[in-house]
Amino acid sequence: MIRTRPDESGERLEDDFGQLLESLRPDLVRFAYWLARDRSIAEDVVQEAMLRAWRARLELKDAAAARHWLLTIVRREHARLYERKRLVTVDLSDVIAREDAALARAGDGELLDLRAAILRLPDEYREPLVMQVLGGYSTAEIAKEMNLSTPAVLTRLFRARNRLRAIYGLTVDADSEPNPEANAP
């Protein structure tokens, strides 16, 4: 039988951190979902990310920064998962067909086309867009995370939105905009 008991103040801190993780979990899964386009992969990524976060919990000095810190861990874990497992590419038509009804029900049905269009965006456009709009990352932060130049990120964000404009019948700019990506890595 277990006989000893860990230090209580440490337990309280661990409890607080555990609660913080749980409270942010829906945001993390949502973020991972838009990166992975698959609910079960998103759950796996978040599970791994939470384990990493738990191990590194002492590195988090400011609770207010927790969300951003955790989103970054989720993004890195997602990238790592693809490097490690070389996941089979998600078949987008399958994803959209499978998720259609669910996506339509998840809030406003009017957003179904937009959600499907976001799912169809290439990874290099979807990822910075999700990081910016959902994650609240600045352009500079996205550039640092994705190992790109800031102009390259601006171009990708522009192109992502430009493609989504078509959903609303708005005029789409040609992709021949000034290309600051020329100097991008």
């Binding site: 000893t4 860990p6 939470m50 009804a101 910016q132 609303y168 905009e177």
Partner: protein
Amino acid sequence: MNCNEVHLAIGAEPAATSPDLEAHLRECAACAEYRREMLELDAQIHRALKIDLSAVGENVPHADAARSESSARPAVRLISSTPSPLLEKSSWAASLKRQWALAASVLFAIGVALVLWAALPGHTLAADVVQHVIAEPLPADEKPLQPEALAAVLQNAHLRLDPIGGDVLFAQTCFFRGRLVPHFVVRSGGAAVTVLVLSRESVSAPVHFDESGYSGVLFPNPGHGSIAVLSRAQVDSEQEARHILSALHAQPEA
């Protein structure tokens, strides 16, 4: 800034602003309109991304079914524009009565739910355990791990397990209900038996469960939470739990 540069800046960050950008927008109606559209689009993108995850990945009724169900209902409800005072009073009384009836029904339902909840201690915990185990399938080859792998997982939780016989098929630290918990699988008498050490989940007495093809027990570890022991095969989970607890020891933290 020229129009191309402004489009790029707004398309990348619709809410961003700068003196140069604002100066251009004051002079260029087309770019000002472009920004208005992009801000609206961004609000829509934000709404689209804020998806309700509970709906994703579930089997939901097809939209056509929902439409046909709603079409069976009357599209509009006819209301007299000048209701008689008598009708108004009786409607009010009926409405009040309905509200009381609704409140009583809600209270009754809450009462029933509380009684059921109290009568089934640990049920939710058991369901969570089973759900977690289903989400962590065993490797297909079921090759035994080195005993050191289990020792390392238990060491993370400041625990040690004396030899209990049987191969270790899986050992991992998992995140469960906001805590890190050791999760391992041993082969016992030919059956794979899964164990979760739940030092922060207490049960007052053994709670047996049978869910989603798994049967097992939440077994109390007085003063130190509980352990969950479960298997798909027919095993005496309570006996397994006692056996494992007798071999499980705390290690002082370094």
